[in-house]
């Protein structure tokens, strides 16, 4: 419970700083950018707090797609004004990285399941406490 409150506060703080800072940017992408920030923060929150490890991985994916959507929102906005700085190579690199992180993370989760018989982080912590 404590962990959830602290994580929520941290995510809210990061979100507030990002929104305040980005709203001052001249090329802020409007509604799409807000939605992408929401997705980023939602993914971050889930990754930090959800006790189900596979949910954490889904949160990680949502967080990163939020970041890519943010890039595209800003590129879309500035391309209508003549200058198109769409960082597509970065998005390709980022996608490849996310898939690798997902794959290696899921491999670890499957192996952890063989030891503990569960994919719930809190239960694993409890079982680990019993072991020691």
């Amino acid at each position: 419970m404590m962990r959830k409150v602290v994580s929520l506060l941290a995510v809210a703080l990061i979100g507030a700083v990002l929104i305040v800072a980005l709203a001052k940017m001249p090329e802020f992408g409007g509604g799409t950018a807000f939605a992408s920030l929401f997705l980023f923060l939602l993914g971050l929150y889930v990754m930090l707090t959800d006790s189900n490890l596979i949910k954490k991985v889904i949160g990680l994916n949502i967080m990163d797609t939020g970041i890519f959507l943010f890039f595209i929102a800003l590129g879309y906005r500035s391309s209508t004004r003549g200058a198109a700085y769409m960082p597509s190579p970065l998005i390709f690199g980022g996608l490849a990285a996310v898939v690798s992180f997902t794959a290696i993370g899921l491999a670890m989760i499957v192996r952890l399941y063989k030891y503990y018989g569960t994919i719930d982080a809190e239960e694993i912590m409890r079982k680990r406490g019993e072991d020691e």
């Binding site: 509604g31 799409t32 939605a35 929401f38 997705l39 939602l42 993914g43 889930v46 959800d50 189900n52 596979i54 949910k55 991985v57 889904i58 949160g59 994916n61 949502i62 797609t65 890519f68 959507l69 595209i72 929102a73 590129g75 879309y76 391309s79 769409m86 597509s88 998005i91 390709f92 996608l95 490849a96 996310v98 898939v99 997902t102 794959a103 899921l106 989760i109 499957v110 399941y113 569960t118 994919i119």
Partner: protein, 79 residues
């Protein structure tokens, strides 16, 4: 027209993301996530980023859900 479509797609994204992370059944969660990725790819296509959209359709809506499904199968599919 495009603006309305944009807003609708964004709404769908936000709602499906919330469902994907709050849903209690992991299998439905993964399916909603695949739909989320596909809609995200459509949105990117509309916003003038066709190549990243194709990459996302392959990775986000193809490879990642497959990996997640395999992991869920191997871990018993329990919440």
């Amino acid at each position: 027209m495009t603006a309305t479509l944009n807003i609708l797609l964004l709404l769908f994204l936000v709602v499906s993301a919330i469902i994907a992370v709050r849903c209690r059944d992991l299998l439905s969660s993964v399916i909603v996530f695949a739909a989320y990725s596909l809609v995200m790819a459509v949105l990117w296509q509309l916003q003038g980023a066709p190549y990243p959209a194709v990459a996302l359709a392959i990775f986000g809506a193809g490879a990642t859900p497959l990996l997640l499904l395999a992991a869920i199968r191997k871990t018993g599919g329990q919440e």
